[in-house]
């Protein structure tokens, strides 16, 4: 509490000195408005107060910390209403409209929230976001509605104070609306945009299709003068318009409407349609070509919109989903899926001699869009015709190889056999010059020599030293035998020969 007078002081972040707040020195109230002193809205301020009574001064209070921007509230917007043709036209002016120094300098950033209700008991409150200049037309005619508007600063999620409640009565709807264009809708395929509408009134109506660049609605200026005619859709009698010329992938939103003009030059405007190009547009099916090589199926995909149409591929980040299956008589064939990013794909693990069918759709995962499937393309994998040929060829080659090896081998073996037979079992032929002697001559291998007169004398050999030297004896035997072989060998009969054998026998026994 402050008894006699108060003194407020302010200290700004970044400054080093406390400053007295103008208009808040020597005040007797318990509150003070020091707005004029605040210029830096985004800086932290410290405020303190002390009481004074004549010469006595109280100690400074505890410091109040505050950032003007944080505690500031958005004031109510200005509202102008007009009841036209069963609808209410509303014009909102921003908070701080005529202030030189603004807390929210970017007044275009405000969004306005309208609350409207019927001025009757148990009326439901409707919330609706509106532009600074807008028309509320989903209302019943000849009814009183009450409304209030608040400004919202979206980035800070800050809601402002509501404007004072205003009530207005709607008029009757004008009757001469028979020739207006109705059911205005957009159909877009592969970035070709068409506007379609209906008209029950058949006679002498020409149309002008108009468009508005969406951001203009955000400004406080009157955008009704900013509608432009779509080139190629002026004074037409057709109930459709190709407005692709004004659209690009990055152009942002557009509003479209149809102005119908009857034979009396009276015009009527249709409802507006909002177009978000990449969201409104539908992706068309791609084209597919198939090719087969051995056990691989090659798929070539032509992107939707043609290969020149880079726009869709670029902005949608297109990918493709390939479906393939065996097209056989039994229907229980599983459909397989393959996802590819490029425009070429390969499928392996195929069965031979089978008809495979393929169809492809384009996908944009980012936009959650998919095209219709392309036409089915079928192709048959090469079959077993080749296999028997391969087997036969292999057999013949093998046979040939065997023969090639076996023939010289056989010949060589035959030659070898002949040689061996010749060596070990020769069939000898006697030489021609002794052939006539007859067989008798060859019975005994020894030729008997002519008998010569021989003295009958015997050689007596001493065998005394035999027992003493058995070892020598053996040697002696050997030498005797050898001498016998080489020395005079006279035998008139076989006795000497037999003697020798007897002697050797005797020696052996000893």
């Amino acid at each position: 509490g402050c008894f006699l007078s108060c003194r407020f002081e302010d200290f700004e972040a970044g400054e080093t000195e406390w400053k007295g707040l103008p208009g808040c020195q020597n005040v007797t109230r318990t509150e003070c408005d020091f707005s004029s002193a605040i210029t830096k809205y985004y800086d932290k301020h410290h405020v303190r107060i002390r009481a004074e009574r004549r010469e006595e001064v109280s100690p400074w209070s505890s410091i109040v910390e505050m950032t003007p921007y944080d505690i500031a509230q958005i004031s109510p917007p200005g509202v102008e209403l007009q009841s036209i043709n069963g609808a209410i036209k509303i014009k909102v002016s921003p908070p701080e409209a005529n202030q030189v120094q603004k807390m929210w300098i970017d007044s275009v950033s405000f969004k306005y929230n309208l609350v409207i209700w019927e001025n009757s008991s148990n009326a439901e409150f409707r919330n609706r976001s509106i532009f600074p200049i807008d028309i509320i037309d989903d209302l019943a005619p000849d009814t009183t509605y009450c409304l209030k508007v608040q400004a919202i600063y979206p980035v800070d999620s800050k809601e402002g104070l509501f404007s004072p409640i205003r009530c207005v009565k709607t008029t009757r709807k004008a009757v001469n609306v028979l020739f207006c264009a109705t059911n205005v809708s957009v159909l877009a395929l592969n970035m070709k945009f068409y506007l379609h509408w209906n008209n029950k009134y058949k006679q002498h109506v020409t149309y002008n299709v108009q468009y508005l660049i969406a951001y203009l609605k955000k400004l406080y200026d009157d955008y009704s003068v900013k509608w432009l005619n779509v080139p190629g859709c002026e004074n037409i009698t057709d109930t459709q318009c190709n407005f692709s010329s004004i659209i690009t992938a990055t152009s942002g939103f557009f509003y479209l409407r149809v102005q119908a003009v009857n034979e009396y030059n009276k015009s009527c405007l249709s409802n507006e349609v909002k177009v978000d190009p990449l969201v409104t547009n539908e992706i068309g099916p791609p084209a597919v070509k198939v090719d087969i090589s051995d056990v691989l199926l090659h798929i070539q995909i032509s992107p939707p919109g043609g290969s020149e149409n880079e726009v869709m591929r670029d902005h949608y980040d297109l990918s493709y989903r390939v479906l393939y299956w065996k097209n056989s008589s039994d229907n229980e064939e599983e459909i397989k899926v393959k996802e590819v990013k490029q425009t070429i794909g390969t499928i392996s693990d195929l069965a031979p001699s089978t008809l495979y069918c393929v169809k492809v759709q384009a996908l944009s995962k980012a936009y959650n869009k998919s095209s219709h499937f392309s036409k089915e393309e079928c192709i048959k994998t090469p079959g077993d015709k080749i296999l028997p040929l391969i087997v036969l060829a292999t057999f013949v080659t093998a046979l040939f190889a065997v023969l090639l090896v076996a023939t010289p081998l056989g010949f060589a073996l035959y030659q070898a056999y002949n040689k061996i037979k010749y060596v070990f079992f020769p069939s000898c032929q006697p030489p021609l010059n002794i052939e006539g002697f007859g067989g008798q001559l060859f019975n005994s291998p020894f030729l008997s020599p002519t008998e010569e007169p021989i003295e009958n004398c015997c050689i007596v050999e001493t065998i005394i030293t035999e027992e003493a030297n058995q070892i020598d004896f053996k040697d002696y035997k050997h030498s005797k035998q050898s001498s016998r072989d080489s020395g005079n060998y006279s035998n008139d009969d076989d006795t000497s020969g037999s003697k020798v054998s007897e002697e050797t026998l005797e020696k052996e026994i000893v």
């Binding site: 809205y41 985004y42 950032t67 921007y69 944080d70 300098i105 970017d106 007044s107 275009v108 950033s109 019927e118 009757s120 439901e124 409707r126 919330n127 609706r128 989903d138 209302l139 019943a140 009814t143 979206p154 980035v155 800070d156 999620s157 800050k158 660049i213 969406a214 951001y215 955000k218 400004l219 992938a249 990055t250 152009s251 942002g252 939103f253 978000d276 990449l278 969201v279 670029d314 902005h315 980040d317 944009s364 995962k365 980012a366 936009y367 959650n368």
Partner: protein
């Protein structure tokens, strides 16, 4: 009364369906990259090369880069939304003295507007205090744009002040472009 009641019900249903069908946000990162690329090109196309005589009037505004660096994706997206809003505001002022290409300017503004609307619909804003403007870097961002606004007002929106602002906004968009590619 019955008619009105029915009408109100239909109105509510329409309101609900429009809000639910507009919450498809998967395409936002891809679309944003494309729009920013396009916006930079449009900024260049709007006017000619930076005039030599304006060089000495050039001022350092010191964009608070830390506002684009926090850990949370949502905080960065909110900062980007705020930057877009401020740029949109600056280019909605009286540009007659700048003598720029009107078509390029319109396309530039429309692209920004679309992005602002998308971000508003898709970024979840928490109601907790720390997330709001009490965050120091967000206040620094507001100060930065306030400086540019004051600069333009002081120079009475003459050609040089516009050219300097355009160069500055180009820098902002380039920074956002870099950040978006990492998100």
């Amino acid at each position: 009364i019955m008619n009105a009641f029915g009408l109100i019900q239909i109105g509510l249903i329409l309101l609900c369906t429009t809000t639910t069908s507009s919450l498809q946000c998967n395409h936002l990162p891809l679309q944003q990259r494309k729009v920013i690329e396009n916006s930079l090109q449009l900024l260049d196309r709007m006017g000619k090369k930076f005039p030599q005589q304006c060089l000495r009037e050039k001022k350092s505004f010191r964009f608070p880069e830390q506002v684009l660096k926090p850990r949370q994706k949502e905080t960065v997206k909110m900062a980007i939304e705020e930057i877009f809003q401020h740029i949109f505001y600056i280019f909605s002022k009286n540009l007659t003295l700048a003598a720029w290409d009107g078509t390029a300017l319109e396309q530039f503004q429309n692209g920004l507007y679309q992005q602002i609307e998308q971000l508003e619909a898709c970024v979840i804003k928490k109601q907790t205090h720390y997330f709001r403007s009490k965050e120091v870097s967000r206040l620094k961002l507001k100060k930065y744009f306030q400086k540019i606004d004051c600069f333009l007002k002081d120079k009475q929106h003459n050609l040089c002040s516009w050219e300097i602002s355009r160069a500055e906004m180009r820098r902002c968009l380039q920074l956002i472009d870099k950040v978006i590619r990492k998100l």
